[in-house]
């Protein structure tokens, strides 16, 4: 009897240790966000706080498009074509903004969804790994963008500036986040997504139409980024040949900074999107305010990214990145 109680207590201690580690892991991004925010405010002597509106202005696009990628990564996929989707959709929005603003928004979303469907076709129907497909489409559509916007940027109608208000941009962002949060957290959609990430074959055998789901998610992610393109154009007024460049990396870094395991699965949390995007933008702006060069910033980003991937990687299921 005495022996078994000893074992019980060691078990409990181990359990406690485990749950403490888990808690630290889940709190780390939030602690990081607060810490980084305080540190930069001190270093810039409050400059960051004064320019908070400017900083917030940059977070919308990343935040919205990160939602789609979050869904993709939950089911263990990756998407490197987000920047190109953003570029194409931005050009569509610009071109149509003179005709009708609602039409522009809808066509931007459709353009994004179409590229998403293109990705999905090769990933789901032709069974090519998602990161290979999306790297290919990244270059393919980047080529289109250069072709269309190299000589001169595609300018939007002046009417878009009417929408350049915090209410519109914040409104769209909050609406996208709120709807996706409810759907992800409180419907079978979220459980199915995570299950695909944790074990696709078994999920299929539990009756989930996994192929249909994967196809839909890529289309959805494209559409969401298409919507973000509208916010992007409202903010910038035109689409240059570099529009949306490196958005995919920004999203990826933001999600990982938010504590997202890179292989998806059961451990993803919706909070990853919000905390991660904020942390990324604060870090970025802080470094700019400190006077770092672009090259030095990429260096710092690379290091921070590596550290976070190392912390949050779910090593047991790393082999399942699709």
């Amino acid at each position: 009897m005495a022996n078994s109680t000893v074992i019980e207590s060691t078990n409990n201690n181990e359990l406690k240790k485990q749950s403490i580690i888990n808690m630290i892991r889940s709190l780390l991004p939030i602690i990081g966000l607060v810490a980084v925010f305080i540190v930069f405010n001190v270093l810039t002597k409050g400059n960051m706080w004064t320019s908070r509106k400017l900083i917030l202005n940059q977070v919308y696009v990343v935040l919205i498009s990160a939602v789609g990628v979050f869904f993709i990564m939950s089911m263990g996929g990756l998407d490197f074509s987000q920047g190109s989707i953003m570029g194409i959709a931005s050009i569509v929005v610009c071109k149509l903004s003179g005709v009708n603003m609602i039409l522009a928004v809808i066509c931007g979303i459709l353009a994004g969804a179409a590229i998403g469907a293109f990705n999905a076709y090769f990933y789901v129907n032709r069974k090519i790994k998602s990161f290979i497909v999306t790297i290919c489409t990244m270059f393919l559509f980047r080529g289109f963008i250069k072709y269309m916007a190299s000589n001169s940027p595609v300018a939007a109608s002046m009417k878009v500036y009417d929408y350049d208000t915090t209410a519109v941009k914040l409104g769209i962002t909050i609406a996208v986040l709120a709807v996706s949060f409810v759907v992800f957290r409180f419907t079978k959609f979220g459980i199915h997504l995570k299950a695909i990430g944790a074990g696709e074959k078994a999920t299929k055998f539990a009756g989930v139409r996994t192929d249909r789901m994967k196809f839909f998610i890529y289309v959805l992610a494209g559409a969401v980024t298409g919507l973000a393109a509208f916010v992007n154009i409202v903010k910038n007024g035109s689409a240059t040949a570099n529009v949306g460049n490196q958005l995919e990396t920004q999203i990826l870094i933001a999600l990982v900074l938010g504590g997202m395991p890179i292989s998806g699965g059961a451990k993803v949390r919706f909070e990853n999107i919000i905390v991660g995007s904020l942390l990324y933008i604060v870090l970025n702006n802080g470094l700019i305010m400190m006077g770092l060069t672009t090259q030095a910033m990429q260096l710092v980003q690379g290091i921070v990214f590596l550290i976070f991937v190392a912390i949050f990687a779910d090593r047991q299921s790393l082999s399942v990145i699709k």
Partner: protein, 499 residues
């Protein structure tokens, strides 16, 4: 004879919070076949894997022939004279048979930094010939061989250098009669040469027949070591479970009529290259068994009935006329399926018990707005996990940390929660201990009486004879006979039709 080969002293090992071995100590002698038995999760494989360098023990010592050893990997253990045949597939894809046999010992064939492939193949061919496995070609890719042949290659790999200790972990269940006989032969040879075999199996008659000494583990604790000649099956079960296991193992009824009501009609089902022209009816409240050799195609029948076969022809029709052609339709019409490949097809491993149990029932658990509540999911999962008396800390625990038997309980809990009427169970008791087996049999019997129908596909003939109303025997992808429940049925009748 009773000279000590291996002393196991105070060996402990834990995985995260699970303590798999708790200060285990006992001795293993030279020239004996020493069986290691215990329920799932009792620590048998953990102990032998630590000995063979696959895991690193946390504490204690292994003393081999008076010398303390600390194998850090399998090659190291090989060099100490310990080899292992593991439970799952232990050969590597993309290498030839010869390269697999000499994995980690390539140096023997390397001269001036260049590998002499011809010499390696020649040596491998000689070995294969010596073992009587001529049909396996040394230079061929291992990928071209089936599970069973690959196991035979593992036998060669593990025994050709006359190891001091050979560990055989639950290998016989993967082998057909012929492969088993071959393995038994080599076990005896090793024993007669004065070396030692450590043998892990759930098949107690096999254990009693083959081994000289038996050590029982339970929940990571050492229980006892007994002479095979001094104990019988019931005695072993008692040691394993820690209490008397009642004799009522299988169903006890005979001659009960089965309902005429057909719940599933299977007609002319073929899956190219696997099964052809399979037709049968499943009745309400019936347990219909499928037996045969592993490659007879019987496992595909389960998938075909569940709509999970690729390229299936023919029809699977339910009583109400519904055709089953895909998994979602099958589940929506109350069909359940447990796969032989539990870890890949039945369970989402890196997912909580909760989500695994709720997965097919999410529609039922959603409210009118299609919303789910955590509390409701947790309650649902808890109810059915407890119905199956699953050993767990909470339903939030990941399935990957459970033992084989408990994993199977989670699978069954899922389908009982879905309230399935037709249960297609492929090897439901594979690698599962006596206690959980008995639970599953009792559950099947109870559900049968409630009008649920079963298709039970199994490689264990005793289980088919004990549980089924009707047994269909498969051979080479076709039905090769049908037998009704009979008290006096014996294994040989079935075996005759299988081979």
């Amino acid at each position: 004879m009773s000279e000590i080969r291996l002393q196991i002293k105070d060996v402990s090992k834990h995985f995260g919070i699970t303590r798999a071995l708790k200060h285990v100590s006992f001795n293993i002698n030279k020239g004996e076949i020493h069986a290691l038995i215990g329920e799932n999760g009792s620590g048998k494989s953990t102990l032998t894997n630590s000995l063979a360098g696959i895991y690193q023990k946390d504490g204690g010592t292994f003393i081999l022939d008076g010398k303390e050893i600390h194998p850090i990997n399998q090659v190291d253990a090989n060099n100490e004279g310990i080899s292992i045949i593991v439970q799952e597939l232990g050969t590597l894809d993309g290498l030839t048979v010869a390269e697999n046999i000499f994995l980690g010992h390539e140096d023997e064939f390397v001269k001036f930094g260049i590998k002499n492939t011809a010499a390696m193949n020649k040596r491998a061919t000689e070995l294969l010939k010596k073992y009587g496995f001529e049909r396996i070609k040394a230079a061929e890719m291992i990928d071209n061989y089936n599970f069973e042949d690959r196991k035979l290659v593992e036998i060669v790999k593990a025994t050709y250098f006359n190891p001091k200790i050979l560990v055989i972990d639950e290998t016989t269940t993967a082998l057909s009669g012929e492969g088993r006989e071959e393995l038994y032969k080599h076990m005896k040879r090793i024993k007669e040469e004065g070396n030692t075999v450590i043998f892990i199996s759930h098949d107690l008659p096999e254990v009693l027949r083959l081994s000289d000494t038996i050590t029982v583990l339970r929940d990571g604790d050492y229980i006892d070591t007994v002479k095979s000649s001094d104990i019988d099956e019931d005695g072993l079960k008692k040691l394993m479970v820690g209490r008397e296991v009642s004799g009522e193992y299988y169903r006890s009824d005979y001659g009960e009529p089965v309902s005429d009501e057909v719940v599933m009609r299977v007609r002319d089902v073929s899956v190219p290259g696997i099964i052809s022209d399979i037709s049968f009816d499943l009745h309400k409240g019936e347990i219909l068994g499928f037996g045969g050799l592993s490659e007879s195609g019987m496992h595909e029948i389960g998938k075909a009935c569940f709509g999970a076969s690729f390229d299936r022809e023919g029809s699977v029709t339910l009583a109400d006329g519904t055709k089953i052609n895909n998994i979602p339709t099958a589940i929506a019409h109350s069909i359940a399926y447990t796969s032989k490949d539990r870890d890949n097809e039945s369970l989402v491993m890196n997912q909580s018990i909760r989500d695994n149990i709720c997965l097919p029932s999410l529609k039922k658990l959603s409210n009118k707005l299609h919303l789910l509540s955590d509390r409701k999911l947790k309650k649902f999962a808890n109810t059915y996990a407890e119905t199956m008396s699953t050993k767990m800390q909470s339903v939030d625990q990941f399935v990957s940390n459970l033992s084989g038997g408990n994993k199977q309980k989670v699978v069954l809990a899922r389908w009982i929660g879905k309230d399935s009427d037709i249960l297609v169970l492929d090897s439901p008791t594979r690698g599962i201990d006596v206690k959980v087996k008995q639970d599953i049999y009792h559950l099947m019997d109870k559900m049968r009486k409630d009008g649920k129908s079963f298709i039970m596909i199994s490689e264990e003939l005793m289980e088919l004879i004990g549980m089924c109303d009707r047994i269909i025997i498969m051979k080479d992808g076709k039905i090769n006979g049908e037998l009704m429940r009979d008290k006096n049925m014996d294994e040989n009748v079935l075996i005759e039709k299988m081979v």
